[in-house]
């Protein structure tokens, strides 16, 4: 099951999101495997870790009776932290598709409860939380959940860079291998963060994510 979730062919819509790198390709800042890898490392260590990663940790560790409340609190925080409009739209779409799909593949009361919260518009859906609940259902540890989430996100973005920049298929695979230790480090850091550190992002990432919506010709939705 986990293999299906982290597969880039798993239809959550991740293939149409660049989370800002498409703008940087247009502006000339991200044009080859090395510059893309630098952007991806910043995206992981300056945004993903402090936002989605921390939320995954909190949701994963929440006791079942408190889960719905924890999900509501962190869903609101997650979308409050996403200032670029396209990031919010892209993530809502992905989360919606992911939640709907997973409930047709796995029968789990917590995933069902999540889908209900989404349908009743109590929360905005986000794939980080859906992924976390699926991993909870599959009895993965928090470390395994984070590792797989980071891997999945970086792998999807790299596949998009292979098509979008473009970079070679082999270069793309090599780049993922090079990022393995960075992922391990990011997971350790996520587990050690204080809740107060939530929401950290960096201006270079955000400005590109904001400027993307003003591009004339775009292959990606963000």
């Amino acid at each position: 099951m986990l293999h299906q979730l982290v597969d880039t062919q798993f239809p959550t819509g991740a293939f149409s999101q660049s989370f800002g790198f498409e703008y940087l390709t247009f502006s000339g800042a991200v044009t080859d495997p090395a510059s893309f890898q630098n952007w991806l490392a910043d995206y992981l260590t300056e945004q993903l870790t402090y936002c989605e990663g921390l939320v995954i940790r909190e949701v994963h560790q929440a006791p079942a009776p408190a889960l719905a409340q924890v999900i509501q609190t962190w869903s609101a925080a997650l979308y409050a932290q996403m200032l670029p409009k396209e990031m919010r739209y892209g993530n809502i779409q992905m989360g919606k598709q992911f939640s709907k799909l997973i409930n047709q593949l796995l029968v789990d009361p917590q995933l069902q409860q999540y889908q209900t919260l989404v349908q009743e518009k109590v929360i905005l859906p986000h794939s980080a939380i859906v992924f976390c609940l699926a991993c909870r259902a599959l009895q993965l540890t928090c470390t395994e959940t984070l590792t797989n989430y980071y891997y999945m996100t970086l792998y999807n973005l790299t596949q998009n860079a292979v098509r979008g920049i473009p970079i070679g298929q082999t270069k793309g695979q090599q780049l993922i291998v090079a990022l393995h230790p960075v992922i391990t480090q990011a997971v350790a850091q996520t587990l050690a963060l204080s809740v107060d550190e939530f929401g950290r992002t960096a201006p270079g990432l955000e400005i590109a994510q904001m400027k993307h919506q003003f591009l004339y010709s775009r292959s990606f939705m963000s």
């Binding site: 945004q47 409050a80 200032l83 270079g204 994510q209």
Partner: protein, 278 residues
Amino acid sequence: MDLTQRKITGTLSLDVVARRQQSIPQDAYFQGAFKLMRPQHLDDTGQLMYCLLNPGGGYLDGDRYQMDIRVHDTADLYLTAQSATKIYKTPKDQVRQDCQIEVGDQGILEFTADPIIPFQDARYTQDQIIHLKATSALFLSEVLTPGWSQDMQGFQYDYLNLRTRIYLADKLQVWDALVLEPKVKPIHTVGLFADYTHYGSIYIVHPLIDPEVEAKFETIITDNHPEVYAGISQLNFPGLAIRILGNGTEAVQATIDSCQKLFRQALLGRENALFKKY
């Protein structure tokens, strides 16, 4: 919070209310390292203007600052500062500033904080919590410089944390945390500051903000300030977030000034509003 254990270095508490055609201070209290200059009405809009001073010249290790600003229903306040927020080195502790802001129904707050200059080996945490109503208007800006160090290299401080949270009708809408540790994580990477040295942030909130208004701000930044690298985005509610990277305080500040002028013209309808920076 550690405020109970620490002596507060500077406190500011300001209540502004609307009376007839003018906004007036109902209560203005400051002690310690904060000082407010005598309030003024700069034009005929009734807006009250205050300038905030730090007579000590800079923030010292262990300093704690507390600001509470309440702009009551239909009141209108322009709060600005005089020079720069210097944070000197903090070998033992850090400097912390907590700021609580409330803007009531149809209240207006323009708050243009002066540039933050973190010195070599400084640690600074700033936490702003802003409560707005659906009809409040806000212009909030901030500038961060690379700081000061003996070698003039910049980015020689230890830690900087600027956090802003905005609640609209008690609902969390913005959670913004800029955390920089330049000695641990290099600043000049594509995701952080790229090749730039100065950072600016603007929040603009007004019930009339829509894509058309957003486009006006986008155009003025792109056309008039090509020297900065800036992004603008509409928030989850009628509000805009603007992020700026540039080289030099002037470039970033000029972009902020243009946006403030447009905020006044396009959203407050003050075509000929006096615009004066102290």
